[in-house]
């Protein structure tokens, strides 16, 4: 416990903690001290001197942001001497500041302007020289005007301390000092990832976002707090709206991001008003063309065709794909429609394609299918083990938070076939051959047991299966692992030692672990490490799957899944089924349904006749696209509900226009189980409707009474049926949301799972043997293809590729290949190559980089014209039914 200290500010006695600065102590007690260089997230430098205060017994005025409190200190924050000094500071800053406030984009929102107003400084009394610097305008997202820069250094520190990209620094000296990149080079060359966090903290108009420039004065804007529509971090954002148009996005305080954002969240919102948005329902005519239709026409048609097909072929002729981009309420309703109205369990969604392995694996090993810990407690970790996650690109804001413990001296272990940004910074970097994770993880466990590094007490009290596991792991020696994974054995031992010896070690993993035919095995092998070393149930520890889509946790919780009812209740359990049958007043199918990939196969074989696809784009996202297309074309009736005419929607008989995240209310559950409120910011585009409304209308027209007046109404039903959501009301969610489990209305939510006991009782030490990937390289296809996401795009690109800036920065796909491998196949950097697997072929540009494993190549999956999923292998994990996106055998040939 830190000591408390009592000081007096402006005659008021104040108690605060040791180590606080005078500025912070004042602020905690509602006394505001002006500041420009100070920012609560950043280290204080005392550069601007605006925050000076008078401290009794001190000769000179003290900058309150860098002056620590001491016992008995007496402070005056507004004495005449202080006020004079502050006026001088502002006056001097204005001396060489352009006086174009009238047209400055920051007008009304500028901290310098506000202080000038507050301190009554109309004109500067100094005739300062002007700096004659050009505006740095070298990228689609933001610009920098050095003339408006007051050298406070917030941007420098933000980029350095938090983002860890060090784009900015002070250059030159004296009057000509400026904040810039080395040699004023374009910021992207200077390592910028366009997160815009520097832009957000800039107090003046020096750093400005380019979107929305000239579109609104600050006072014409309404700010609505909602949740980012992209990844599972679930960053809280403000949508800045004028005349029903979103013109800017900024990061909101609190929540999982506490103002930080990445490039997608901050600058990737222009898809909302994109001209391609679907504005009316579309019905495909005899001529094969789409014709606009009214909602009544479209919904009646769908209801009639669904009824006919059900009549003729039975309920299992339907397949439904729900979406991790839709809200919890919509996912709940979608699975309810499929089960209660159409009568089938054939409902699934893209969680199948990203974290089905986590859902299965963690449920078996620990009993709860989610991140065990919270993003915020990462900072407590002294060892971070990242495996199969390119965190800085796929979960950028979590990547930024990982910088915190690293700056405090935490050690980093990274295992990845690609040398990612974190791999570059790792204390131990393990470059395993794709698909050999179980061999690596089992060997780490083997070493931990052999060397006696495991936590005996924890293993005895909280786990089961230790003796069997120890025996089972005998053959997983470091020598064995070196042969299989290609990693030197000493490195593996070192990684095991660092992980086991940590006070608090956390594991972060993502699709590099789950998207394998051995996905569930991989997940359980990870859980074993945490269980053996007791690194679970405390701050800074845990087994943490980073979920991909914004609401993939929630859509899993709502169980738009073929074998589970909401809240992970097996459909095969008559008791569980009974609960839902009673609530929904129907009898429910007992047989588990088909998963995404299985539905496509069934469609190809003619067993599934009709599909209802909500917000998914299997024509780009699913493995082996050629077969997806054949399957979908073979359907009698396809309904697609989306915000754009996606590749999949083009094949539909009826297209229903849905609203985007900005136009709706509901909840998303982020990767740390935090249920957060989405608030409607703009009116729907055209006649687009919220997904929940559309589903409800369909149910009604098929004779099933659904009568929800709002998403909140649906949540009330969810809370009554799903125990982990039991305590949720919109009112309680408020600003910060709640982390499940929330068993009742008074429960505060759960930051860390498995504190005193595992959800399943004891943690299960599972024996998972290493198995080769489904498809190994051979003479014809000698390289391993692995796929993934890049920072600037998101999934099938329907949104990000319609964002001007994101598209401009990364307009096309590419294939990463190691220089040695490239040399062997005669491939040069930037050259077009043909990549072929057993299933298909694509053309793509090569990017030669030493980051890649020499025996593998990497292709991002966002680009339909060079779709990685033409090549990927649809082979499935036997339990999770997740396809093996991360390993396929390919051949690479340069084009002449």
């Amino acid at each position: 416990m830190s000591q408390t200290i009592t000081i007096t500010i402006n005659g008021q006695k104040i108690t605060t903690h040791q180590g606080a600065s005078v500025l912070e102590a004042a602020e905690e007690n509602g006394i505001n001290i002006p500041r420009l260089c100070y920012h609560p997230m950043l280290e204080s430098t005392g550069a601007c001197r605006l925050c000076v205060v008078e401290v009794e017994k001190a000769r000179t005025l003290q900058p309150s942001c860098t002056t620590p409190v001491t016992e008995g200190m007496v402070v005056h924050t507004e004495s005449p001497r202080v006020m004079d000094a502050r006026k001088t500071v502002i006056d001097l800053l204005l001396a060489n500041h352009p006086e174009d406030c009238l047209t400055c984009e920051k007008n009304g929102d500028c901290e310098l302007q506000n202080y000038a107003y507050q301190y009554g400084i109309k004109h500067t009394s100094y005739k300062g020289e002007r700096k004659d610097y050009p505006i740095l305008d070298d990228n689609p997202f933001y610009q920098m005007d050095p003339e408006k820069c007051i050298l406070c250094g917030r941007c420098v520190r933000m980029c350095d301390e938090v983002v860890n990209h060090h784009v900015w620094d002070y250059a030159h000296r004296g009057f000509v000092t400026k904040v810039t990149t080395a040699y004023d080079m374009p910021v992207e060359e200077g390592n910028c990832i366009f997160c815009g966090n520097c832009v957000q903290v800039c107090p003046t108009g020096a750093l400005l976002p380019k979107y929305g420039m000239g579109k609104a004065r600050s006072w014409e804007i309404t700010k609505i707090r909602t949740v980012c529509p992209y990844c599972g971090v679930g960053c809280n954002i403000y949508l800045h709206v004028k005349n029903n148009e979103v013109i800017k996005v900024s990061g909101a305080e609190g929540g999982p991001n506490d103002t930080l954002l990445c490039v997608k969240g901050r600058f990737g919102f222009d898809f909302i008003n994109h001209k391609d948005r679907l504005k009316t329902p579309l019905i495909k005519g005899e001529d094969g063309q789409f014709h606009t239709a009214s909602w009544d026409e479209a919904l009646d048609l769908v209801a009639r065709r669904f009824a006919e097909i059900k009549e003729k072929h039975g309920p299992n002729a339907f397949g439904g794909l729900s979406s991790a981009r839709c809200t919890n309420e919509e996912n709940y309703l979608m699975q309810k429609l499929m089960r209660a109205v159409l009568g089938t369990n054939n409902v699934d969604h893209c969680a199948r394609l990203c974290h089905a392995s986590s859902v299965v694996g963690l449920n078996i090993s620990l009993g709860s299918a989610a991140m065990t810990n919270s993003i915020a407690d990462l900072v407590e970790a002294d060892v971070i083990f990242i495996i199969g996650s390119n965190t800085t690109e796929a979960h950028p804001v979590i990547g930024m938070w990982v910088n915190r413990p690293l700056r405090k001296g935490a050690r980093l272990i990274v295992a990845d076939p690609r040398k990612t940004e974190f791999a570059e910074r790792a204390h131990v970097y393990l470059q395993q051959l794709p698909g050999t994770d179980v061999a690596l993880l089992n060997t780490m466990a083997h070493v931990i047991i052999k060397e006696g590094w495991y936590k005996k007490e924890f293993v005895e009290k909280r786990t089961e299966g230790f003796a069997e596991l120890a025996k089972f792991l005998e053959p997983y020696t470091p020598e064995y692992a070196e042969r299989v994974t290609g990693i030197a054995k000493d490195e593996i031992i070192e990684a095991a030692r660092i992980y086991a010896e940590a006070k608090n070690a956390t594991i972060l993993y993502a699709m590099g672990i789950t998207q394998h035919t051995t996905g569930v095995d991989n997940v359980q092998a990870i859980a074993n490490l945490a269980l053996l070393t007791g690194n679970i149930g405390r701050e800074g520890t845990g087994v943490n799957p980073l979920r991909g889509q914004n609401n993939v946790q929630g859509s899993s919780d709502m169980c738009a899944l073929p074998n589970l009812l909401p809240g992970y209740m097996p459909v095969t359990d008559p008791g569980m089924r009974g609960t839902f049958e009673k609530a929904w007043r129907v009898s429910l199918p007992a047989k588990p349904g088909l998963t995404v990939v299985e539905m496509i196969h069934a469609a190809e074989k003619g067993e599934i006749k009709a599909m209802y696809v909500v917000g998914e784009n299997p024509m780009v996202s699913d493995p082996d696209i050629q077969h997806v297309e054949e399957g979908l074309k073979n359907l009698e009736f396809l309904v697609v509900q989306d915000i754009f005419l996606s590749e999949t929607a083009r094949l539909a008989d009826v297209v229903l226009p849905a609203v985007s995240f900005a136009e709706k209310t509901g909840t998303f559950t982020n990767t740390e189980r935090r249920i957060q409120l989405l608030r409607r910011a703009v009116e729907p585009i055209g006649q687009a409707k919220a997904d929940w409304w559309i589903i409800q209308e369909l149910a009604r027209r098929m004779g099933y009474a659904m009568d929800y007046s709002s998403p909140e109404d649906i949540m009330t039903e969810i809370a009554s049926l799903v125990p982990i959501y039991g305590g949720v009301t919109y009112e309680r969610l408020g600003i910060q949301g709640l982390q499940w489990p929330i068993p009742d209305k008074t429960h505060p939510g759960t930051r860390i799972l498995h504190r005193d006991r595992f959800t399943r009782g004891l943690g299960l030490l599972a024996k998972v043997p290493f198995k080769e990937p489904d498809e190994g390289p051979d003479e014809e296809f000698p390289l391993i293809l692995t796929t993934g996401r890049i920072l600037y795009h998101y999934h099938t690109g329907t949104m990000t590729r319609r964002s001007k800036g994101l598209h401009a920065i990364r307009p096309e796909g590419y294939m990463e290949i190691h220089p040695d491998t490239a040399g062997r196949y005669g491939v040069k950097d930037g050259q077009w190559v043909k990549v072929t697997s057993k299933r298909g072929q694509i053309r793509i540009k090569a990017q030669v980089t030493a980051k890649m494993h020499p025996r593998a190549v990497f292709i991002p999956f966002h680009f339909v014209e060079a779709a990685a999923n033409m090549l990927t292998n649809p082979a499935l994990d036997p339990q999770a039914k997740i396809p093996e996106y991360k390993v396929a055998a390919v051949r690479v040939e340069p084009e002449p």
């Binding site: 620094d169 250059a171 000296r173 990149t181 080395a182 040699y183 390592n191």
Partner: protein, 168 residues
């Protein structure tokens, strides 16, 4: 350092300078100094290498290099001419001397001739006010300068090297 040593030093690459400093951010200033000593100035390429080896952001290396007057980011001439514009020299026509040098070399103060023979700089007081107006070439001071003497003086230094005329 004698001329001989310097030639030897020049054959050292930036890589040689950096051995021993890998991953030591604290060594930035000594490394910059050593690099400048060997190469005469800090090239962009060398600073990038320094940033990489010491694990310091390039923007920071650039910031430090531009902060201290001792560092030069452009190649410097083999001879450095410093014309004094201190009070005494100013009064006694220092500007005219500067103009004459500038004209003779066809460069402005702060610049270097294309053939890398001369760099022209101005200084405030060389501490030889009694001899005003003064200028200094490398480490040699020349007093009581007259504009018409400038061409001959410069001619005298052509082809020579500042190390040869340096006083140690």
């Amino acid at each position: 350092m004698s001329g001989h040593d310097n030639t030897e030093a020049k054959s050292r690459g930036i890589e040689d300078i950096l051995t021993g400093y890998q991953g030591r951010p604290g060594a930035l200033i000594p490394v910059l100094q050593e690099t400048q000593e060997v190469f005469g100035y800090l090239s962009r390429e060398n600073m990038e290498k320094i940033a990489g080896a010491l694990h310091i952001p390039f923007s920071k290396v650039y910031g430090v290099a531009t902060f201290y007057a001792q560092f030069h980011l452009k190649p410097r001439g083999r001879n450095i001419i410093r014309v004094c514009l201190g009070t005494a020299c100013h009064v006694r026509g220092g500007e005219k001397i500067l103009d004459a040098v500038s004209k003779e070399l066809n460069i402005k103060p702060g610049e270097t001739t294309k053939d890398l023979q001369f760099t022209l700089e101005r200084v405030a007081c060389l501490g030889a006010c009694g001899l005003a107006p003064t200028l200094m070439v490398n480490n040699e001071t020349h007093g009581r300068m007259k504009p018409e003497n400038v061409p001959a003086l410069i001619q005298n230094y052509r082809g020579r090297d500042r190390e040869e005329t340096a006083v140690h």
